[in-house]
């Protein structure tokens, strides 16, 4: 016999968990008692939202399941945003929430919230524990569901009295989920059909998303691109799955993608979507999206196929396995390689005509785009895990930081969660201590989870936080400028706080950078400083992220 909470610790160890993020409170006191002897590293965050995002950053950087603990009521509601974020970006995560004692359930007890009800639409699955003996199986099922199929967050809600009950713990060897059987192997006939379609395409594009990262299919994606000399573009979530410095790389597509990528999609006769879901930030005006194209859609989630764009050849399964077989099938057809010459000529024309650009002069202030380029240089061509928050800085990072490996770019795509960056960078640093963890954030986003500087300091997590500081909520300001007649409403953040002093108050190193001429060297020096560092870089206040497809417009109508 052992306490259910001690059984939870055993289950975590059996799942290979060695570090978790969390915050204690009344309803999960038993769990926190179990942590004392469990031998599992627990990182005490300063806010449950920080814990949830740190678990996400950990999961995104490592590919393992991130784990977060929170108490009932406010603890649980504070992880609602990270859970939603993880759901939107398919991040494997298990969240343990405390709940009031069973006798208090439904009585509006102290710190009671209907966690199951609140989180139902934002989790892949959830377990509400009703008997302590269920707990070990629920934990293993939660991890299984979180990491398999299309990954996502799973929540386990445990009433306080049940968590401290004694149970007869037996290790769980298997999971039994009759209603959960993800398809992993793609249909052979469909794969052959896809190969034939590719062999006959004259203007093909490979469009890869975050699913390629989750699947670990970067090698296979590259093999397919090589086999057919296909042009490749990635979504925001897919960046890094195809090496940016590669002749077949078109750049990111979508609202702030490159013209080469968006025009190629527009003129393509065949688009192969791999682990991507045709989000509105990709398609723009749906009725005018890729009007000449047929679609091969490879995805592990059957519900994504033909959700927004009807697929001509749907293939449900794991991208890695499917791409591997697709490459073989394609090669066996011995297609005519010369057929893409005209297509590449067209793409080359776009690349020459419309490179990413911004106005800069030697004596100007620091342009935000230049900051990204300088950071790329200062990290020895991006040799780091770069996390970002949400807004202009995120888009500039996506454009100018050339990601060459998967799991090196950590950001909030689907939900667009400001405040994601700092805790995620902490999680990434914990997951991969040998790779520098750099955060590129904005002065708006950074303040949304700034309290996690305390976590970084206390646990000596050496995150290097670079603030692209324009004193504005830059992306909102840009939209007000472009679409609301420059009537600025509540976007000026002033110059608060004094970032250097704030960093110092947390016991971290603070640096203010304003000189463009020495920026690369100054960044290099800051990144080399041990421990957490906050680098405040003052940039041009009103700079717009271009190019851009206006919301609801078509790719053809890109501006800037």
């Amino acid at each position: 016999m052992m306490r259910a909470v001690d059984a939870i610790m055993e289950c975590l160890k059996a799942e290979g968990v060695d570090v978790v993020f969390g915050y204690p409170g009344g309803a999960n006191l038993p769990t926190y008692d179990a942590f004392v002897d469990a031998g599992i590293r627990h990182i005490l965050v300063r806010h449950e939202a920080g814990g949830g995002h740190a678990a996400e950053g950990y999961a995104k950087a490592s590919g393992k399941v991130g784990v977060v603990f929170a108490t009932s009521g406010p603890g649980a509601t504070n992880i609602v945003t990270p859970l939603t974020d993880a759901m939107m970006d398919s991040v494997p995560m298990v969240a343990f929430t405390g709940q009031v004692r069973t006798e208090l359930l439904g009585t509006d007890g102290f710190q009671e919230a209907d966690t199951f009800g609140i989180t139902m639409p934002i989790v892949k699955h959830s377990f509400v524990i009703q008997h302590p003996a269920e707990i070990p199986r629920a934990v293993h099922e939660a991890f299984h569901i979180a990491r398999t199929g299309r990954p996502g967050p799973v929540l386990i809600d445990i009433p306080q009295d049940l968590s401290r009950a004694e149970i007869d713990y037996q290790p769980v060897e298997d999971v039994h989920l009759p209603g959960y059987q993800p398809t992993v192997d793609g249909n052979s006939k469909q794969i052959r059909l896809a190969a034939k379609a590719l062999a006959n395409a004259r203007r093909p594009v490979l469009y890869a998303g975050g699913g390629v990262v989750s699947s670990g299919a970067s090698e296979e994606l590259r093999a397919l691109a090589d086999a057919g000399n296909f042009p490749v573009t990635c979504t925001l979530m897919g960046l890094g799955t195809f090496p940016a410095p590669h002749p077949q790389w078109l750049g990111m597509l979508g609202m702030h993608g490159t013209r080469a990528a968006n025009y190629a999609m527009d003129e393509a006769d065949l688009i192969v979507a791999i682990g991507a879901r045709f989000d509105d930030r990709i398609t723009g005006k749906l009725s005018e999206f890729a009007p000449r194209a047929k679609f091969i859609h490879i995805d592990i989630d059957p519900a994504e196929i033909s959700k927004n764009v009807p697929a001509h050849i749907p293939i449900v399964g794991d991208a890695k396995r499917i791409l591997d077989r697709l490459v073989d099938e394609y090669r066996a057809l011995e297609p005519d390689k010369a057929r893409l010459a005209g297509w590449w000529e067209r793409i080359e024309h776009w690349r020459q005509q419309y490179p990413l650009r911004y106005d800069d002069t030697p004596d100007s202030e620091i342009k935000p785009q230049y900051l990204v380029q300088a950071l790329y240089e200062a990290t020895d061509n991006g040799d780091c895990i770069l996390s970002s928050d949400v807004g202009q800085h995120q888009m500039w990072a996506a454009q100018y930081f050339h990601f060459s490996q998967p799991r090196r770019w950590i950001n909030s795509g689907g939900l667009g969660t400001m405040g994601f960056g700092l805790p995620a960078a902490i999680g990434a640093a914990v997951a991969c201590p040998d790779v520098p963890s750099v955060l590129l954030t904005g002065d708006g986003s950074f303040q949304m989870n700034i309290q996690e500087l305390g976590t970084a300091r206390q646990f000596d997590i050496p995150v290097k936080c670079v603030i692209m500081d324009n004193g504005y909520l830059g992306m909102v300001r840009q939209w007000q400028e472009l679409f609301w007649d420059r009537r600025y409403s509540n976007v000026d953040m002033g110059s608060y706080p004094d970032w250097v002093k704030l960093a110092e108050a947390y016991g971290a190193k603070g640096v203010l950078l304003t000189d463009k001429r020495t920026l690369v060297d100054d960044l290099r020096a800051a990144l080399a400083t041990p421990g957490p560092v906050v680098v405040d870089v003052k940039v041009t206040r009103e700079e717009n992220t271009y190019p851009m497809i206006a919301p609801g417009a078509a790719a053809r109508e890109m501006v800037g």
Binding site: G117, G179, K196, N200, A303
Partner: protein
């Protein structure tokens, strides 16, 4: 279209996409779910947030005590049924979904009607009940309660017939359905 596996030419023009098809007819989905707390909430929540509108819904036990059957009907003119079933399949507690073929399905609904019927009209109402093979299960001075079972269409037809007499109240269960023949639904 070229057979897969051969090197025969496949023309992209020949590829056709089928998705988001609105069939235009009523669909009866028979959904086997684990008999666990919160499952109905998950299904109802899914329909609400994806904007799917349920016409009728019936939930009950099956021959297996660990499973429940949810029978729901929805309008195939309003919703892409394939997207509905695919989203339902993502719920871990959903074991099996059948989009029942109308020709191979027996579907029944139970309805109770409270109809005005005084001495002058009672005979006429009773005649209607007989035609529809319903039952009068309660009588008062000025009204009767009628029980009718049948397909959704039959219930609709009965409602149209008795409404002129003065329909005071109506309660319907929503259809339950099972497939014809030996095979399991």
């Amino acid at each position: 279209m070229g057979e897969p596996g051969t090197k025969e030419i496949l023309s992209l023009e020949e590829l056709e996409a089928s998705a988001g098809v609105r069939t235009g007819r009523k669909h009866i989905l028979s959904i086997l779910v684990e008999n666990k707390p919160g499952v109905l909430t998950r299904i109802a929540g899914l329909f609400a947030r994806r904007g799917f509108n349920i016409d009728t819904l019936a939930v009950g036990p099956t021959d297996d005590p660990t499973l429940s059957r949810i029978t729901l009907t929805l309008d195939g003119a309003m919703h892409p049924i394939d997207q509905v079933t695919k989203q339902l399949h993502k719920l871990v507690n959903v074991i099996k979904i059948r989009d029942l073929e109308p020709a191979e399905t027996v579907a029944r609904e139970l309805a109770l009607f409270k109809v005005s019927a005084d001495g002058a009209t009672r005979a006429e109402v009773m005649q209607m009940v007989e035609i529809f093979r319903g039952k009068i299960i309660d009588v008062s001075k000025r009204s009767v309660i009628i029980e009718v079972t049948g397909s959704w269409e039959k219930i609709e037809a009965f409602e149209r017939m008795v409404r002129p007499f003065g329909l005071i109240e109506m309660a319907r269960t929503g259809e339950i359905a099972i497939s014809r023949g030996r095979g399991e639904t």
